[in-house]
């Protein structure tokens, strides 16, 4: 087990190094940061000085080497645009993204799993069919459209919910949370639903397909023959056996929730990392972009690792084989 984790961490380092290198190669094409950092009366010579001071005249490999050298020491440089350390910015923004992602993952699970089980068990019922239609809509509508619809309906027309931001947050010193205030929760509802819709529909469809598969297997028939209740068959035998693929997908989806909350965050001006990243792209804020990509690489690797470990505890067969 320890060997397994060690190997995974080693792979993680490789992945992150590759991510950073690819990122740096791309930064050559995102534009010139200096044009956003100098006023229009700034002379060409002064702009050149600024480029030099920021190290933008060095080769890609030099810039990459310097970045890695600093990153290893936990130093990610300063944001060009906001002029504060990138690590401070990410620490400041990470709670917002994590809270949003977890709440929406929770919504997706709590709503998605029962819906999936129901649509598998009562395949032909009227309700199951409408669930499936809904999930089709959910999977095909783009996130920003759902967000804008919600804003228009609940924010502008009904004026029930705030249309942007995180509401009142409580600062715990090392973490800022919006989960302790009413306005924080109200602000959370729309972005969390927007972000959850796609995951939820994915879970519904996945669980349904897996359940249908499992329900056809011999041990379910045997369980029926043993005279077990339908409830015990569905939940402790069938559902449990569908969970391995579901956990893989959900794990990876939490990664993408964190990484790709970008669109939801920019529609709702949610002050998380995704918003930070997309604005950094617009303004060519290279230190933020590189640190963010590295962090996201790390999050994915970490989640993969956790999912792998979870397999061991859920699927006894794996434990025997190892």
């Amino acid at each position: 087990m320890l060997f397994f984790i060690g190997r995974r961490l080693y792979q993680a380092a490789l992945v992150m190094l590759t991510v950073a290198l690819v990122a740096f190669a791309m930064f050559q094409y995102v534009g010139d940061p200096v044009s956003n950092l100098a006023g229009q009366d700034t002379t060409v010579a002064d702009r050149e000085l600024l480029r030099e001071a920021l190290g933008l005249n060095d080769s890609v490999l030099e810039q990459f080497g310097r970045f890695i050298f600093n990153a290893v020491q936990g130093e990610f440089g300063q944001s060009y645009r906001m002029r504060v350390p990138v690590s401070d910015l990410i620490a400041e923004r990470f709670p917002a993204t994590l809270e949003l992602s977890l709440v929406s993952a929770l919504i997706a699970l709590i709503v998605g799993i029962p819906m999936g089980v129901y649509t598998a068990l009562r395949r032909n019922s009227w309700l199951a069919r409408s669930f499936m239609t809904l999930s089709l809509i959910g999977i095909s509508l783009p996130t920003f459209l759902i967000g804008i619809f919600l804003i228009l309906f609940f924010g502008v027309i009904l004026q029930w919910l705030p249309t942007f931001g995180r509401g009142q947050v409580v600062d715990l010193g090392w973490w800022t949370t919006g989960l302790l205030t009413a306005s924080g929760w109200k602000s959370m509802i729309m972005p969390a639903i927007t972000l959850a819709v796609f995951q939820m529909t994915l879970i519904v469809r996945l669980i349904r397909a897996e359940m249908l598969e499992v329900l056809r297997t011999d041990y379910i028939k045997f369980a029926r023959a043993r005279g077990l209740t339908e409830r015990s068959i569905s939940f402790s035998h069938a559902l449990k056996n569908t969970l391995v693929p579901v956990i893989t997908i959900i794990g990876l989806q939490i990664g993408s929730l964190i990484a790709f909350a970008i669109i939801t965050e920019s529609v709702f001006q949610w002050p998380g990392m995704g918003l930070l990243f997309i604005q950094a792209i617009g303004e060519v804020d290279i230190p933020i972009m590189s640190a963010y990509l590295l962090l996201i690489g790390f999050v994915f690797v970490l989640i993969n690792l956790i999912v792998d470990i979870l397999y061991f505890s859920i699927d006894p067969r794996l434990r025997v084989e190892r």
Partner: protein
Amino acid sequence: MKLKSIIIAGMSVLALGGLALPAGAQTFKFAFQADAQSLDPHSLNETFTLGLLGNVYEGLISYDKDMNRVPTLAVGWEVLSPTKWRFDLRQGVKFQNGNDFTAEDVVFTWERMGSEGSDQKALAGLIENITIIDDYTIEIDTPIPNPTLLNDLVTMYIMDKEWAVANNATKSSSPADAGRDGSYATTNANGTGPFMVESRQPDVKTVLVRNENYWGNDSIATNVQRVEFTPVSQAATRVAALLSGQIDLVYPVPVQDWNRLGNADGVSALTGPEARTIFLGMDQARDELLYSSVKGANPFKDPRVRHAFAFAIDINAIRETIMRGAATPSGLMWAPQIQGYNAQANTPHPFNPDKARSLLADAGYPDGFTVTMDCPNDRYVNDEKICQAVAGMLAKVGVTIDLLAQPKSQYFAKVLAQGGYDTSFYLLGWTPGSMDVFNVFNNLIACRNEEGTVGGFNLGGYCNERIDELSRIIASETDVELRQAAIDEAAQILKDEAGYIPLFQQPLSWGVRDGVSVAQRADNVLDLRNVVMP
């Protein structure tokens, strides 16, 4: 409702032991598409950053709501000789930390603006020396006679010397040294202005509170006690925030949303003219265009081709369809709000496609040619749409435009000096920071010099020696009539040669909650001194 909010406010005062705002305190919330980059008033010469900081810091002179110059930290001035000015400073002014404002702070500020890392070195360079006569009198020497010194001084925001020394912030912070020693002023502010920074989270929220000890509290209109500024980057989100009543003022509002604001209850669009001129430029420097079907020659070196382009573009059609009627067609490279404007010279080329075709034929391009046009797509109001319309109009006279519309970061990286002026035909907008015409000549129209100090934004390399001579006169002529004559002559030459093709001044576009009174300044600055809440 009103009573209830007063009671609640009163209760919170009790609850917080009198720390909260006085009863009836007015909170003004506004959103802009981006955040100020820094609280350091000398680290970035950019409209929004300086506009926001203008509520915290002050210059010797400032603009009122109609862009007239008004004495601020200076109470009066006198021209002693063409290169020597005396300023009397306002007495009894205190910085927000309680320190006194004196002549020493002015000298310190000037030195700080010239320090490495400052983005206002060009401004600092307009002053040769500042002599302290006494605590409240200074004399400013300029290297050459400077008729626009008063305008230039508006963005020279005075910083407290003692505060800067105590916090190791005597040099302007730059993006390269942000977060290190000396960047205290990036995240903290201490000016003489009517508002103080209470808290700031970059790109998330900045809260300002009223400075109760402000020297001019009796002379400013505002009744606002607290200001919450939120950057909201998505236009749709910004407009929704206004419509849902969470925000009192948002800008910019997309032109296509004006009707929506007009039809909604309780909000309206403010669409005054901005001092920003949108124009087209052409590469007239190279012997062969970088991006064109014409090889071995540069068609833009021929004035007939440039005139043909100007005749082919129907500015009024662009104004009506793309700008919803809210742009001001322009024949000059500067707007009516700019010092040096002359209404008689402002007639654009009339729309005349036949003439354009015959001019192209005369120049040897009866079948037109192909040229690539560079265009930003997130910098000016509907910039990409304007370029598309221009391409369509030029197609009708036989010129094929390959449109390359890009986000501003890529666009500027390509077309500006650092990209080697890598363009053949482009769209750009310009507001002179000093609100004076010399800035336009110096940056856009005068011939580019080797050092890049003149003509830095003359991307097409237009060059006329007579205009250069006139530009030097405009720089230093203090006699208003002689100066205007030089401006008019230069404007005429530029138009005769069609060195540039001015299109129009773009509109300002703010969305405001009804009952909130604001002044929409032509430089797109929201001055909180003019905000009055219901």
